[in-house]
Subunit: 166 residues, 2 copies
Amino acid sequence: MTIVQEIQAANEAYAHSWTQGQLPLPPARKVAIVTCMDARIIPAHTFGLKEGDAHVIRNAGGRTPEALRSLVISEQLLGTDTIIVAQHTDCGMLTFENKDIHAIIHKNLAGADATHIDFLPFKNLEQNVRDDVRFLRESPLIPKHIPIHGYVIDVSSGKLIAVDSE
Amino acid sequence: MTIVQEIQAANEAYAHSWTQGQLPLPPARKVAIVTCMDARIIPAHTFGLKEGDAHVIRNAGGRTPEALRSLVISEQLLGTDTIIVAQHTDCGMLTFENKDIHAIIHKNLAGADATHIDFLPFKNLEQNVRDDVRFLRESPLIPKHIPIHGYVIDVSSGKLIAVDSE
């Protein structure tokens, strides 16, 4: 089977066991989580979530500047009032600089130019969590009453480690 | 308990049951999935994923233009070679226009101006899946050999419905 066939078969089994009907659109536990796309993170497991509980925003690195659009929608339209930012050990974003990926793209993609894109790599994990939490705390688009908690996920143990928690 | 205390307690139980050590950084099943932040979607369930399997990129709407940075990192640095785009029924992005959220922000956030931000709402779910798949197929930053599959997730049943699958 191809990966797509495997996914379709897994989905048929999941839908077959579905019992909850259609849950409400706003997250029941009023929390929005920003984390990395990393394959080793299953947010439902890391944070103890079930269907309907929480917004989960994921991108390469779990970077909050890119998550801002989604967070504003989450808070202003769908009622979330707590933000968790969780980046992780052994992140790919610690392994390259913009000039490296710009060169790889130029070489692999027929001379394509991506030098206008900041791929948002970083050099220090804990400092980056603090910087990304501060970005949200200082944003005029995030209400000041919303607590923002910064964590590192240790992908060798699954553990959440508080880095910058209000 | 606060939501943060509940999450920390759930994480302690998860880490306590952790047995796999540290898995490799590149996704074992070489697939990258773009989907919405919606609380009712648990991608590990929808797509049948376990820790280490797949990159999962999530934002409000599951919009691919915002996911492009992450997808390029996924493919060029971490070896994924299939993309799945899955948006869903009853999506909040179908319920507003940019002018609505710009006005809400101005009212709720002390006159803050977000009129420079496109919040990427859309009016037709299936057409938007097709448009977001086409955006990736036409991007010079996505290799032409990478198949891109577009789906709708029915949040009343958990089912994946193919919309635009190569």
